[in-house]
Symmetry: C2
Subunit: 296 residues, 2 copies
């Protein structure tokens, strides 16, 4: 990191973490590295990955200072290790990194699911190494550190899901890290988080993918803004999202059942010509949107 410049008025006087290792330098990891460098949340950012090309893209974007394919070496040097890989690899990588860490090192992640990851690492970390689960509600259908955006977390919510045995200092330090990147933080239980995002993120993605998947190419020209908005999330990487659904399959199956029930209700009302019932179902969706748009 260089000197404080007028272009970066939000940079604090002292860095929060001398060395941050970001494992997985895609859109989220790259954006976290870029934001941490620009805002002084980290003195130095090491990008960790298996693919030289992605790492070099992150370095070229200014998201990391150094790159490394050796997770343990990076972990040994880091004060904070942020895992931003697909969710089904986070726990294994955390367990691989932890033995190399110095006491006092914090581990955290940006995975979209939490309970499975926490269960997998619980009780298996060396003394003095803590894991705090995290999920920034930010992202995009764009992929890769080439789209990294230092403002990606600005004003967004990061859900932190500590275990009962997570010490308050570890939780507080991870919260401060995300706040330094412009985010708000809240604390939820991992299971509560997973049930919530099944409804707010995973189910919308599945429904969008299902609707998009029914579109035959000959009807592409008959789509308008509504179709495009509604299915935009389906542009997200299928493998990344499959891993999320797999990790959170209990809550996602529950949410799918609730959606099926509601679509059944629409179907029955429509088939019966029960116009008031169809209107009532639409009005419930309308009311939710109205709340989100600040109307209630």
């Amino acid at each position: 990191m260089g000197t404080v410049t007028p272009a970066n008025p939000t940079r604090p006087a002292a860095v929060l973490f001398p060395t941050l290792a970001v494992v997985g330098v895609g859109l989220i990891g790259g954006s976290a590295g870029l934001a941490a460098r620009r805002r002084g949340a980290a003195g130095r950012v090491i990008g960790v990955g298996r693919h030289g090309e992605a790492l070099e893209q992150a370095r070229a974007r200014g998201a990391v200072d150094d790159v490394c394919t050796d997770l343990r070496a990076a972990a040994a040097a880091a004060d904070l290790v942020l895992f931003c890989t697909p969710v089904d690899r986070i726990a294994a990588l955390a367990l691989e990194a932890a033995p190399a860490c110095r006491p006092g090192t914090l581990l955290t992640d940006a995975g979209s699911t939490k309970a499975g990851i926490l269960a997998a690492v619980r009780g298996r970390l060396p003394a003095g190494v803590a894991f705090v689960g995290g999920h920034p509600l930010a992202g995009s259908e764009r992929q890769g550190a080439g789209h990294a955006d230092a403002g990606l977390f600005e004003g967004r919510l990061v859900v932190l899901t500590p275990d009962p045995d997570t010490n308050d200092n570890a939780l507080s330090q991870v919260a401060t890290f995300w706040q330094a990147l412009g985010a708000r933080t809240i604390v939820l239980g991992a299971e509560e988080h997973d049930r919530a995002v099944a409804l707010t993120s995973h189910l919308p993605h599945l429904a969008a993918a299902a609707v998009a998947g029914l579109l035959p190419p000959e009807l592409d020209g008959l789509t308008a803004a509504g179709f495009r908005d509604m299915t935009r999330v389906a542009a997200g990487d299928p493998e990344l999202w499959e891993a999320i659904f797999h990790e959170n399959r209990g809550p996602v199956l529950g949410a799918l059942d609730r959606l099926a029930g509601r679509l059944d209700a629409f179907r029955a009302a429509l088939a019966a010509g029960d116009r008031a019932a169809v209107c009532g179902l639409l009005a419930e969706g309308h009311a939710a949107r109205h709340r989100l748009d600040g109307g209630a």
Copy 2:
């Protein structure tokens, strides 16, 4: 209408229709009136409606020159009558207006469904009065002539659905009207149109409304851009959309069954831990989005 000004270079030398009556001055009707006035597609625009307040809003917005609550009087004065009311009122209003029309008057509409409207007016119009079905694939979750936008149809597609007995001149004149407003036009059979929009517009709306309707208020804060994009269309007026689903219930029920089948497939694959199958279903949605974004 005033003189040609430099601010309106697209205005043709001669107006297409001396008098245009727009029946229903909401977002679509108001935008059509505004665009027709600005682009010289009509010499004079009469806004027709039941509610004085909406008519005055349209006049204040510059969408119409005159307002009128007497449909027959407006129809008698018009060369083109454009019906922009909720779809379940279009046929009855067209049949009410037609006997008052002078021979040579054209009737058309902007309804989201077509077969039912055409069937209702077929064979019931006076000699010399033609009805050409139309559907501009444009709109917004915003409502009312207060949001009227002269550019709403710019670059958009308008589907025209003539009956087999529609004369070519009538079809051509209606096409020219929409083209003067900046739209492209295509001709489809009414049933083909209705099956297509069941998949490209009505099903996405139902799915978005169903997903939005499952959101409890306490989870509002845990929604992010994906949820908001995916459910945006659900902000549309429930009564307007209920009328569309009712008019197009056959194709909509068919589309709903296809969506239910696809969600069942997701559910079965997820429950069975068949990760390749889940990924394959997501990849089909991803491919459709990629096509729409110009990637294929």
